[in-house]
């Protein structure tokens, strides 16, 4: 098992003929993702690595049947429309890769997806991968690296940083710990699926034994995870790292979400709440595999 995506998930790529769209379609296909069709308005009839391109999502659906997931590579200002088009065609999960999507567009998508019973990852996400099964987005860069860096296993990884999603998973692999699903929730202030939501999915996934969370300053995501753990809704062990210890209040550090507003979202408040809830917070990234391995071992012994 894994969450959100596996080798059977039927995948559509919106913006498949663009620079990133083409390169990452190659990655997904080479890795084994079940990419069935692509959409670029005006480019219908073309092919990208043997994948048919259509003018609209509905047209793609008429020709290829329902899609489970759409991966969106269109320019930031068109992301909202692309995702709405996907939801309109009953796609239940959209993965929004682009950076710099206006926050009001994200809020609208959040509202519509809730009404439609759909979900989205991102925006500003590197994507997600269920090792050995499927990759969505651009995580890993090329299939060869993705296969080398990520291995199937029982740790769920959720991260607010794209690069760190890969880094943590790679270090877990090096330590002999495989991953069930690796997800970059996106670096923005408001994202579709945030840490508390992904960790709840991992909690329900029978294959996931433990979780690693890379948090950051800003937003309430990590605080809400602490609440879920305190409230008993998450029982599997979590190892967490919170980035941005030295960040100043009011200044954004790359990610739109990584900004401390008032006392909320500060490094100290997050670490304190998580520790109090019983989450294992480490100070350096290289301690993550050690701690995760130890927790899995303890968990195994208790059984």
């Amino acid at each position: 098992m894994s969450i959100l995506v596996n080798e059977r998930s039927k995948v559509l790529v919106q913006g498949i003929t663009g620079r990133e769209g083409m390169v990452r379609t190659r990655l997904m296909k080479d890795y084994g993702t079940n990419v069935r069709a692509g959409v670029t308005p005006g480019k219908g009839g073309q092919e990208v690595y043997g994948i048919p391109v259509f003018d609209s999502v509905k047209q793609a659906r008429e020709e290829c049947g329902d899609f489970d997931i759409s991966v969106v590579f269109v320019p930031a200002f068109l992301v909202k429309d692309a995702a709405l088009e996907a939801f309109d065609a009953d796609v239940k999960l959209a993965v929004l890769i682009p950076d710099r999507v206006p926050i009001n567009d994200v809020l609208e998508l959040a509202r519509v997806s809730k009404q439609e019973g759909a979900r989205f990852v991102g925006p500003n996400t590197l994507g997600l991968v269920s090792p050995g099964k499927a990759v969505l987005g651009m995580i890993g860069g090329r299939a060869e690296s993705a296969r080398e860096w990520f291995r199937p296993g029982s740790i769920g990884v959720s991260s607010r940083s794209g690069g760190m999603t890969s880094a943590i998973s790679y270090y877990l692999t090096q330590a002999g710990l495989g991953q069930s699903t690796i997800i970059h929730v996106g670096g923005d202030a408001v994202v579709g699926l945030s840490h508390p939501e992904t960790l709840l999915l991992f909690e329900e996934d029978p294959e996931t034994e433990g979780m690693v969370m890379f948090g950051e300053i800003g937003t309430t995501q990590e605080e809400r995870v602490a609440d879920l753990v305190s409230g008993g809704r998450i029982r599997k062990p979590i190892v967490a790292y919170i980035g941005g210890k030295a960040a100043k209040s009011g200044t954004r550090f790359s990610h739109a979400g990584a900004i401390v507003e008032g006392s909320r979202g500060s490094h100290e408040s997050k670490v304190e709440l998580l520790k109090k809830a019983g989450v294992h917070v480490v100070d350096v990234i290289s301690d993550i595999p050690k701690k995760a391995g130890q927790l899995l071992k303890e968990k195994g012994e208790k059984r």
Partner: protein, 521 residues
Amino acid sequence: MARLFEYQSKKLLKQAGIPIPEGMVVSSAEEAAEAARKLLRPVVLKAQVWATGRAEKGGIKFADSPEEAAAAAREMFGLKIKNLSVEKILVEEKIDIQSEYFAGIVIDDEEKSPVMIFSSIGGTGIEETARKHPDKVARAYVDVLKGFREFEARDLIRRTGISGDTLTRLSRTLAKFYTVSREYDARSAEMNPLVLSKQGQVYAADCHFVVDDYAVFRHPDLGIEVAREFDRPPTELEKIAYLVEGNDHRGTFYFFQMLDEVSEKENAIGFNGAGGGGSMMSMDAVLDRGFKLANYCDTSGNPSASKVYRAAKIILSQPNIKGYFASGSGVASQEQFHSARGLTKAFGEEKIAIPAVLRLGGNFEEKAIEILHTYLKDIPGKVEGYGRDDAPEFCAERMKKLITENHFLHHKVRPVTEPEIKESAYSFRTVTGEIHIDHEKCGRCATKGCVEACSPGILKLENEKPVLAISREEAEKGKCTECLACEIFCTYHEQDAIFIRLPIPGLKEYREKVIKNQKKQ
């Protein structure tokens, strides 16, 4: 989040039909007197700075006559409020205030929705009011698909104990406030205080808008120079950097300065991160070792080599830094040789003397590190390249060791210079620059390696000389990816015949100023 000044925010309110005190923005004491004369009544002078609590710092003064207004303005223009100098003052009619309220819009990341907050106590911080008088504060989520309607505003305001005419007047204002904040893509907006005058009129006495920087492109009328979160106006170097980002959409280049000025004694380094999380982690690793960062910078999202080159040139425009530290997540999906080539061209041109630790882990890191070690071994400064299996803490330790060994070195900014380009050179444009090939030198070239080095394959040999294999238009439109491989090959293995000109508008003049200051010291 691009902040607007009070006077700019108020202009938006006025357009939306929300009453604001009559007034004007002035830049001199004379203009302040003139404004007071025109207003024909007692005025308030308000310093236009992005800082809260300006009243305690002398940023708000009252005046009963034009002379008093001029005197107050004179004092205020000399002020520094939280390190921000007062350059503009808003001169407004003084309102006889009956009562003060608070209205604010923020975005709740849990509900994924805007929240309208209203309080029947205004003037102070909302957090404090909420703590002391919870019954005077009410919140309502806004459905972004429907907007915030007057009946919702009424129901919100009545929960804070307000009724009668005041309720209906405030409700109308609040509904308009949401509409204008949405129209201008506010990330947050606040009217504090929103006041009721003794004459029964509602005014936004103070107002602040913060515009979502990802939506600034929709509002050219706001004239926002640098659409990024700062708690101060952008520095000159930041403006130069922002222009680079605006001219090249391949990947991200995010830059801001963290120290006002770096002295020779300061233990400060130039920082070049990659990826938000990796950058922050790397930043923490160097800060933990007692360093200060002259700047924060993030080059990620698969940037072109030319973009990384420009980032490095900008970082190296900061005098007195003691080292250059580049580090990202360590396992980047992007092809790291692009960054390596960008850094190689920049460091080679600058011939930096300070040490550099460059952690370029990720796809093709072996190639990236090889590029750094091969081509930068002969510059005065020591350059060490690292990959995904080298932790940021280890790299920060290396930086510390190299800087300790070279503690007497601090970075000297050089003038921007360019080699002379002969008229006979073979030249073509690229997306953000130009490539010039001195064909006279090509005659002496044995390998013709530039053609092979060009990964998009846009060069071919004609009479044993490299020329475009595609049209000039195609090259300019992006077929030439500015990977810099041809220049680096030619410079280090052959005749040094290729020069790729990648201009950075404003940098030449900026450096001249820095150099002048360097000489003074």
